[in-house]
């Protein structure tokens, strides 16, 4: 049986771990709230831009823009959103496993696809598994601003425009609620499902003409889709980390309870032993 001091030490170290994990839980909770807010304040922009794009696409049958057209697929691009830091439970492993399975299923050789990872964990994973990386970005802020990721979004959209890739997918954790996140794959480009909602659309005049408008709006739309997914992913990351840290705190608490029990038992045993010794010593003297 472990000595009293050993148990005491373990209790101490577990409770200091618990302090850290519960602090991390609280930090993640507040970051999650902020990330959720950011995702919410992005919604009006997204809705508006979607509306305009949809009404242009619906208003004219003969819209002809490379970003709206499917072409034969020779190469596929995958944008993957991961975090920079670990300790976020299954957040990264889920999305990366999903990516890995997808590329294994869909492609026979490494020339057929290219990965654009956001976040350090994703980048390291791609390097380790030797997946072809087109470009990666690490060190994103917890509350990313649009300007920060502008470079990578326009890079991804340009890959498609220059026909380097013929379709572009987005893999990320969709934030459902604080306790549920879903790995999601969405097709970013070509834009084929803009007009799904069937809302009442207004018809516009275009200044100077539709083509010029599409040229400005469509890249902006595609970029904002990536940004939206990133905001969504960040909210999921913090939620996932919060959950992971909460269960770590709970586990630590359980362990401390158990250890305290065996500490008390050991103490009791020591006392009993001492009494027995004294009593037997006294009775030997009689």
């Amino acid at each position: 049986m472990a000595s009293l001091r050993d148990i005491k030490n373990r209790i101490n170290s577990t409770s200091s771990t618990k302090k850290i994990t519960s602090a991390m839980e609280m930090v993640s909770a507040s970051k999650m709230n902020k990330a959720e807010q950011n995702a919410r304040s992005f919604v009006p922009y997204m809705e508006k831009i979607q509306e305009v794009v949809a009404s242009i696409a619906a208003g004219n049958v003969d819209v002809d823009h490379p970003m709206l057209q499917s072409r034969p697929i020779k190469k596929t691009g995958y944008v993957v959103i991961t975090s920079d830091r670990g300790l976020a439970g299954p957040y990264n492993s889920n999305v990366l496993r999903n990516l890995y399975q997808t590329v294994q299923q869909r492609h026979r050789s490494k020339d057929e696809y290219v990965v654009i990872p956001l976040g350090k964990v994703g980048t390291d994973f791609c390097k380790r598994m030797e997946l072809p990386i087109a470009k990666s970005i690490v060190g994103l802020d917890d509350q990313p601003e649009f300007a920060e990721i502008k470079e990578i979004t326009s890079y991804a959209v340009n890959l498609f425009e220059d026909e380097e890739v013929d379709e572009l997918y987005l893999h990320y954790n969709h934030y459902v609620s604080a306790i549920t996140q879903e790995v999601t794959e969405t097709k970013l480009l070509p834009l084929t499902n803009i007009n799904e909602e069937g809302k009442q659309l207004s018809t516009y005049e275009y200044e100077p003409d539709q083509e010029a408008i599409l040229n400005t709006i469509l890249p902006q739309y595609a970029e904002s889709l990536i940004y939206g997914a990133l905001l969504d992913g960040k909210a999921s990351e913090h939620a996932s980390r919060m959950t992971a840290m909460r269960s770590a705190t709970d586990n630590a608490e359980e362990l401390i309870d158990e250890l305290t029990l065996s500490y008390n038992r050991a103490r009791q045993a020591a006392i009993t032993q001492e009494i027995t010794e004294i009593v037997s010593g006294a009775s030997a003297l009689e």
Partner: protein, 147 residues
Amino acid sequence: MTSSLTTAQGGVRLKTLNVSVVTPDGPVLDGTYEMVSCRAEGGELGILPGHIPLVAPLTISAVRLKSENNTEYVAVNGGFVEVRPDQVTILAQSAEKPSDIDVDRAQQAKERAEQRLNSKREDDVDFKRAQIALQRAINRIDIANHQ
């Protein structure tokens, strides 16, 4: 709402426009104004209440929002404007009110861009990028000085 402007109902005309400026980082401005002028890629646009629905891409410029006795400015970096008879929405990747502009930062960006323009050749990608950065910086500084 839009029906109140048709002449069929006795020529009722709206006097104001709801204007909102929206960016990916959230709404920048929301208010009621009498006139909006902005610089589209095809030229200057003045929008009064009752304008036909219109979409136009914007340049890096100032959007002027006029109400009864004053004019407000907003710096927009591209994007586009969506007009409806009673509602104007400006969607840009970034936009700032004069009070939110960091003049020092814009000044630094301006100097950086100028340096780059001097050191790169004209067909370089960075040259184009620096040109845009310079436009943005100058636009911000101009608008901040309006206040």
